[in-house]
Assembly symmetry: C2
Homo-oligomer: 320 residues x 2
């Protein structure tokens, strides 16, 4: 059996390419990093547990990609550029083929988004992955949950519900045509962090959040932090063609609203910037859909195509 130190050096010494902003990476007591002058540091941490956040026997490559992707999604939501990450990996065994697959997945995702593994900890125990990802952003460009105002339009990037549909397909709760199942499951395994969208919208959005717990819960966080209400038009929810084919409209909307695992961005745009945002969308520079409007009040209110209020259960995934 390999010891902890050779494990680290063998599988994790080079995930992502270290740039000049990394003075010291894996292998000392601390990593030493140089944030760009004039930028602030954006930091996020997410833990993935076997059988809570993914099926235990999932391919190690997918687990790694997902663990980094969910953190990248948080960095995207504040409009930051990802830079470095720490990996705390707890595994029951030091299985070389599993570790090799895991590090390959991590490496691919790190390279795709230009961030570098700079340190962490490996321990033996129940399979758990905690990543802390650091990015940088000019302080006046950082997007927060708290900036929405009545009259702002609400947008989401990409489509919603595919993550929950993918997990349902993986777990055998949804039977879809093969092509659609592949699309949905890929969406679950390889969520696309919206880094480029975050960098685009940070110049004009008033608030943003990434949708990890479901649109209702996460838009609710914007409403609460901004001390406003939100009006959501259910017929505008962007559902992918695969999801529309594989599930009923009702099921698709339910997953879009509360299924979680989408890692799209939800953001608000002041009325005088909506035309600019729409031009980016029309020009193919931004993939986003207008789904409602911020209003006075509190909480999230849903209306159907006739403008009638619809009661929907507003809850994200709860661990406790």
């Amino acid at each position: 059996m390999a010891d902890e130190f050779s494990l680290i050096s063998r599988y994790f010494s080079a995930c992502g390419i270290a740039g000049e902003d990394t003075l010291l990476g894996v292998g000392d007591d601390c990593a030493l990093l140089t944030p760009a002058a004039g930028e602030v540091l954006a930091v996020t941490t997410d833990t993935l547990l076997a059988d809570v956040h993914f099926p235990r026997n999932s391919p190690a490559r997918y687990i790694a990609q997902r663990a980094l992707a969910v953190n990248l999604s948080d960095i995207a939501a504040v409009g930051a550029t990802p830079r470095w990450f720490q990996l705390a990996l707890t595994t029951p065994t030091a299985d070389p083929s599993w570790l090799s697959e895991f590090s390959a997945g991590l490496n691919a995702m790190a390279n795709q988004f230009n961030c570098t593994l700079v340190g962490g900890d490996t321990t033996r125990g129940p399979l758990t992955i905690t990543i802390t990802l650091m990015g940088t952003v000019p302080p006046d460009k950082a997007l927060k949950r708290s900036g929405a105002n009545p009259g702002d339009s609400i947008f989401v990037s990409g489509s919603l519900g595919d993550g929950a549909g993918g997990l349902a397909s993986i777990e055998g709760r949804l039977s879809a045509a093969r092509e659609d199942a592949v699309y949905l499951e890929e969406h679950f395994w390889q969520p696309k962090p919206r880094i480029s969208e975050g960098l685009e919208i940070r110049t004009f959005a008033s608030a943003a959040i990434d949708i990890s717990d479901g649109l209702l819960a996460d838009l609710g966080h914007i409403a609460k932090a901004s001390q406003v209400g939100a009006l959501l038009e259910l017929d505008k929810l962007p559902l992918s063609r695969a999801l529309q084919r594989a599930a009923s409209v009702q099921q698709g909307r339910a997953w879009a609203l509360a299924g979680g695992d989408d890692y799209a961005l939800c953001f608000t745009v002041p009325a005088d910037r909506v035309a600019h945002c729409q031009r980016l969308i029309d020009g193919g520079l931004l993939e986003a859909t207008s789904i409602g409007v911020i209003e006075e009040g509190a909480g999230v209110r849903c209306v159907d195509e006739d403008g009638q209020t619809v009661e929907v259960e507003c809850s994200g995934y709860k661990h406790f």
Copy 2:
């Protein structure tokens, strides 16, 4: 049962006092932090698992203190000032009294060392605590493992072996007089991170490491990173009076060499700075002991009081 979000806000919204360098702390997708101009970021991550790193039924306050302390020790080893940390807490239940005790311990340690909880993740599962701690240090003052040269003197801060002796006492493997048992067990539960020592030695030390896996293993890391050998004089190992009373010299030395859990600093000092270092020690400004010398070669060689080479098993705690 409380949900994840109210858990976070109730117990973890205010551990440590946020300074002006924290633009945004707990509660958004990312924390937003401002490292001091001209300083680099030092980042470390340590995971503590129940029944691996501490007995499962340990007081929650102690577990929290220990989890932060082991990270502070890594920050100390590079000569950095602690600033912010992220907490990934996995617990089997959301027991309010446990969480309250845990956050009290974390808060006490954070306040003592002037660092602030700025974010993290809470999940349900086997008790696991991962902390990522960030500090700052002027780039030319950061201590690395790789800076030792033949002729440098080797020092350790504080005493060695108390952490392992404390764990033995807690687990009933060591019976000591009550006063000594209290001293040793406190040393295990509340390791004293050597932040002030790190800030002191960074002006003259050539290399440093914190002793988490035992002196032999950690001095071995300095030797390997610096491509040198180390000569250790066993009779100079600083053992506390409590440990000397509670255990045989042989047992005390064994714990000092390979017991781990001491979180003292081991550092090397160039010959022309040793007198300066010794003046600090003599003046009570630095608690440290000279224990050997860096030499050409590789690995760690131990000698007894007669200068005879002694074979000792050179291994730290290994998870795999």
